[in-house]
């Protein structure tokens, strides 16, 4: 029996069930959420402030008061939520002939696409992090790729507001060449650079780059460099120390080609501190992708179900993620 307007509620429920099933599967394969802070927020405008550390821990004389630790405000940014979405059209024919398989496919495909776009937009923030100060994102809008200090995401010259010290999160090899190809030597040097990182107060704040993030193209090489029991590419019998230090390789196929301009970025690779990466990569959601109630379109008699989300992408303090284009 054909579906009638009175069946709105039943069909909506059915579509929502399919939507939720698909979304559940898709969320599991959403790699961006492993790296980005995708927490929910009520703020339309998200204010982010770097604190340059609490610099008080001194020897105290007997009976004396402990010195007060005051935080020093660093750079700040504001990020405003944007709305994204689309409509799923259930045609009169589908309802007339109860083509549930088609309806299910349409919903599933729309969910997949929504999450694919979110995931790709997040990968693109990394892929566009080496030059310029903004890029046109896959939605066609300008997306900033600088950190709160006004410097492009991956740089050897990140600044702070307290002094003229600079710090890096651009990967180099032991010879000092920036943007080396993925190799053991570059991983070791990046880990060293991160370990000796100084905060603006001059205090060593070691960053543990324990996660390697690569494109699908570099998956095999990454696994051989990190997981082989001996040192990769050498005939010697030394054990491979990286095996226990880089504890996770994240293969993100969306890093192979940038979604916004189809540039081949398969040689790009990154390292992150898995404990703190989400304080660098920010993507707060005011609303995760969800499907709303249908409306009937008068001319076509389609029942259209909106799928929409609110989120924004921005960068916090940069040092928990290091990157290289692999060009050298």
């Amino acid at each position: 029996m054909a579906l009638l307007t009175s069946d709105y509620a039943t069909l909506t429920q059915k579509l929502n069930e399919w939507y939720n099933e698909s979304a559940k599967e898709k969320v599991q394969s959403w790699i961006g959420k492993e790296l980005f802070d995708v927490s929910e927020t009520d703020w339309q405008t998200y204010n982010y402030l770097i604190l340059n550390g609490l610099a008080k821990f001194d020897r105290v004389a007997e009976g004396a008061q402990l010195p007060i630790a005051s935080s020093v405000e660093g750079d700040s940014v504001t990020a405003t939520q944007r709305r994204f979405g689309g409509r799923v059209g259930i045609t009169k024919d589908m309802r007339m002939f109860e083509r549930y398989d088609q309806m299910q496919e349409i919903v599933r495909s729309s969910v997949d696409y929504a999450f694919d776009r979110v995931d790709q937009s997040q990968a693109d923030l990394l892929g566009n992090g080496f030059t310029s100060t903004s890029y046109t994102d896959l939605y066609g809008y300008s997306q900033s790729n600088v950190t709160p200090d006004g410097v492009v995401f991956f740089s050897a010259s990140h600044s702070n507001n307290q002094n003229s010290n600079v710090a890096r999160n651009l990967i180099r090899n032991s010879a000092g060449t920036a943007n080396p190809a993925l190799a053991r030597d570059a991983i070791v040097t990046a880990r060293k650079d991160a370990k000796v990182h100084l905060d603006p107060n001059g205090t060593n704040r070691p960053i543990n780059l324990d996660r390697l993030i690569v494109s699908a193209t570099n998956e095999d090489l990454a696994e051989r460099v990190v997981y082989t029991s001996g040192v990769q590419g050498t005939p010697n019998v030394d054990i491979n120390p990286l095996k226990s230090k880089v504890t996770n390789i994240l293969v993100w196929s969306r890093l192979d080609t940038r979604g916004n301009d189809s540039t081949d970025t398969s040689a790009y690779w990154y390292m992150a501190d898995s404990r703190n990466v989400k304080s660098t990569l920010k993507s707060p959601f005011a609303q995760k992708p969800m499907m709303g109630e249908a409306t009937q379109i008068h001319d076509s008699l389609n029942w259209e179900y909106p799928i929409d989300a609110y989120y924004v992408l921005f960068l916090g303090q940069p040092y928990n993620v290091f990157g290289a284009t692999g060009a050298n």
């Binding site: 940014v77 504001t78 997306q143 709160p148 006004g150 410097v151 507001n161 960068l315």
Partner: protein, 97 residues
């Protein structure tokens, strides 16, 4: 995402309101700090005034060049604009006469 340019620009960490340093400008900024001992905000003024290399800087300082800072440049631009308007009015009056 919007940066706090009201703080970055006076500190010499951005070129102008809404404009970050390009890679080459940032490189020169750091070179001027390290190799010529300038404070960041002073080095920034030189670059904003068109100095594009260490050699340019050396030649400019030899000839006694003093860069305008953002505030001075703004005032000068305002004065120039006002002057242009006044000149236009003056020319029009002279034509009528």
């Amino acid at each position: 995402m919007s940066l706090d340019f009201s703080k970055l620009v006076p500190q010499g960490r951005a070129k102008a309101n809404g404009v970050c340093w390009s890679e080459t400008e940032l490189e020169l900024l750091i070179s001027l700090e390290r190799e010529r001992g300038l404070a960041r905000n002073v080095a920034a003024d030189y670059i904003r005034n068109g100095i594009s290399s260490l050699e340019d800087f050396d030649k400019a300082t030899k000839s006694g060049f003093k860069p305008l800072n953002v505030e001075e440049a703004r005032k000068e631009a305002e004065e120039n604009l006002a002057k242009k308007g006044k000149e236009a009015v003056k020319i029009s009056r002279n034509k009528k006469k």
